[in-house]
């Protein structure tokens, strides 16, 4: 399983580094020196990783009987993990639209429920207290900057 993933990853890096090398050549020589050196390194490492993974995969093919891995192990992210990522993306969008306090309150409660926390009264209390404590300590008392929204 890991070797297959290594193959995919190394193909990605080979393509990315090749595109990078072609793009970097359009830059001025002095600016391009160090990034080009790194991109060639990445290309080299990726090719070696690909070759290594292919060789190991071929050896493994002879000894593997059936692939018993479940569907969830074959995918990069499970549906649940994808849900967490989606919540984080929505949180960032809400931050931009409504500011820190409302967005954080919604994201806090939403993620807690998604993670399986179902005690509603404690959840409301913890969400409210946490956001208020963070707001007053970090933004009011310590004067850290925060993303302002419609109200505050």
């Amino acid at each position: 399983m890991e070797n297959k993933q290594n193959c995919y990853a190394s193909v990605f890096f080979i393509v990315a580094s090749t595109v990078g090398i072609l793009y970097t050549r359009t830059m001025s020589r002095s600016a391009a020196k160090y990034p080009l050196f790194l991109l060639w390194l990445i290309l080299g490492f990726s090719i070696v990783l690909l070759l290594k993974s292919v060789i190991v995969l071929k050896k493994e093919k002879k000894s593997i009987n059936t692939d018993n891995t479940s569907n969830s192990e074959k995918k990069l992210f499970t549906l649940k993990e994808f849900g967490v990522i989606l919540i984080a993306i929505v949180y960032v969008v809400l931050l931009k639209l409504f500011g820190f306090v409302p967005a954080s309150a919604v994201a806090f409660a939403g993620l807690a429920v998604y993670m399986g926390y179902r005690k509603w009264v404690p959840l409301v209390i913890i969400t409210t207290v946490s956001i208020l404590v963070i707001y007053f300590i970090f933004f009011k008392y310590l004067n850290l900057s925060y993303i302002r929204g419609i109200w505050f």
């Binding site: 990853a9 160090y34 990445i42 990069l76 849900g83 984080a88 998604y114 926390y117 963070i134």
Partner: protein, 495 residues
């Protein structure tokens, strides 16, 4: 000097100063534990509060916050696998592993005791050896700094013994990502694609928060019974046995010394020191395979080193007026506000204030170890907190920390993007540590190699000349080859 020390001690030992030191340490630990906020931010935020205080008291508060914040980062590193600062990345490898095995209190107390050793050495160096260390730090030119950064990068070979190729690939990608922005030689933009926020490059703090915090939040969805770890309180204790103390003491002292020296070098800092010390401790160990499995030395080495680097980073500032780190630069501002001029005359013109600060730094280490040990019992409860509460809290603090780096919404986007990259890296078994090392140390290598070549008119031999370069490259080579040599020797012994 001794009359100055006496005057400083007389000045320090008052109820007000001791209480301020305690307050500083507590505030520092709280802020340092939040990923992205860190010592420099913590100190910067509190500088205005010191306006109303006397110079000595104000400096003591800031020093307490500084030392506390450096230790504070290890708390989340150990309990949540989320380093509070880049200098705590190495602590996650053994600290979090030990916590997950059911010994969070032991891991926390190892970190605080090791930090104590490192901090004491650093404070003693600040008090007694400032001048010689400052002179040594001045000998570090661009060639020496490049050699040190390469030494730091070489630890990837030791860390990624199982998949060295993937580690090197991750580090190379990290180094390349750090080239985004303005080139140091000509000021030409690279890979910015017209995005204004990319001209200043990728902020490694936001990247670090994303790479380490986000995958932990995502992984929490799989937590059994909704808690991070189930452990038996019977086994775990904040008190280390005398055997365990004897086990970590030599490592803490040696790595604390290394951290003290590295911290005094302008531009080096606790991050490089912690990685170098971890690698050093692993190389010297009779059982290097134990590193990464929750060994106490794996926690002690980086923690004593990063704390050792903290106070000593003020040596160039106090003795020469050169701020060698972001936190030292903030201290420079604070000293100036209080009418103190850092530099060679500071010790003779204001001995009562300076020596009060230096004595205070020593006492702050003691305060920190007491608060740390007392707090470890309570803090370890974090591991028992339901993930439904922990995950959103980490997410919110990640946003606060990444936004605070530049007061720019773009940094939150950077945090999110690197968070996704971090999740993919975890799934594909690529080293996040090597990646972050590349992002942090890559620019150091490029900047200093470029400067060295400019100074020497393109002569590459200049990079390898000078006794310090020779020593650093020799150490790098030995560390790279040592695993191979050790392997050959052990095979010959078997035969």
């Amino acid at each position: 000097m001794f009359s100055g020390i006496l005057a400083g001690a007389q000045n320090y030992f008052s109820v007000g100063n001791i209480l301020i030191s305690i307050l500083g340490v507590v505030l520092g630990i709280i802020v340092g534990a939040i990923p992205g906020l860190g010592p420099s931010m913590a100190v910067a935020v509190l500088v205005p509060i010191t306006y109303a205080m006397s110079p000595a008291t104000g400096m003591l508060l800031l020093m307490g916050v500084f030392c506390g914040a450096v230790y504070g980062g290890s708390i989340t590193a150990i309990l949540l696998n989320v380093p509070g600062t880049p200098a705590n990345v190495a602590t996650t490898w053994d600290g979090n592993t030990l916590a997950k095995k059911g010994y969070p209190k032991k891991a926390l107390s190892t970190a605080i005791i090791a930090s104590f050793f490192g901090g004491i050495l650093s404070a003693l160096a600040l008090l007694f050896a400032s001048e010689p260390i400052a002179k040594l730090s001045l000998k570090f030119g661009p060639a020496e700094m490049a050699a040190m950064a390469i030494w730091g990068l070489s630890i990837i070979c030791s860390l990624e013994s199982k998949s060295l190729l993937k580690g090197l690939l991750a580090a190379a990608v990290g180094c390349w990502i750090a080239t985004i922005g303005i080139s140091p030689e000509q000021g030409t933009p690279r890979y910015v694609f017209g995005v204004i926020n990319l001209y200043s490059g990728i902020n490694y703090v936001s990247a670090m928060i994303g790479i380490f915090c986000f995958p932990e939040i995502v992984a929490m969805i799989k937590a059994v019974s909704g808690k991070l770890v189930q452990f038996s309180e019977k086994d775990d204790s904040i008190f280390l046995s005398s055997k365990e103390l004897r086990h970590i003491a030599p490592t803490s002292l040696l790595e604390g010394f290394i951290g003290t020296v590295i911290g005094a070098i302008p531009g080096a800092g606790g991050t490089i020191a912690s990685f170098i010390s971890y690698n050093n401790a692993k190389s010297r160990s009779k059982h290097p395979e134990e590193f990464g499995t929750g060994t106490l030395r794996g926690i002690a080495a980086p923690e004593s080193s990063n704390n050792g680097a903290s106070a000593s980073s003020l040596i160039p500032l106090l003795t020469l007026g050169i701020p060698g780190s972001a936190t030292a630069a903030v201290f420079l501002g604070a000293l100036t506000i209080h009418g103190l001029q850092p530099g060679p005359l500071l010790f003779s013109k204001n001995p009562d204030v300076v020596y009060c600060l230096l004595i205070g730094t020593l006492v702050i280490q003691v305060i920190m170890v007491i608060i740390g040990l007392a707090g470890a019992t309570k803090i370890s409860i974090v591991s028992k907190t339901p993930v439904g509460i922990l995950a959103p809290l980490i997410l919110v603090f990640s946003v606060i920390g990444s936004y605070a780096t530049n007061n720019n919404f773009f940094e939150i986007g950077v945090m999110l993007v690197f968070g996704l990259i971090g999740c993919i890296m975890v799934k594909l078994n690529f080293s996040r540590a090597a990646f972050i090392l590349g992002i942090i140390l890559g620019p150091l290598v490029e900047k200093n190699v470029t400067r060295a070549l400019m100074i020497s008119d393109g002569e590459i031999g200049f990079l390898f000349s000078g006794p310090i370069c020779i020593v650093l490259y020799s150490i790098t080579l030995i560390m790279l080859l040592w695993p191979i040599i050790k392997n050959i020797i052990s095979k010959r012994k078997k035969n």
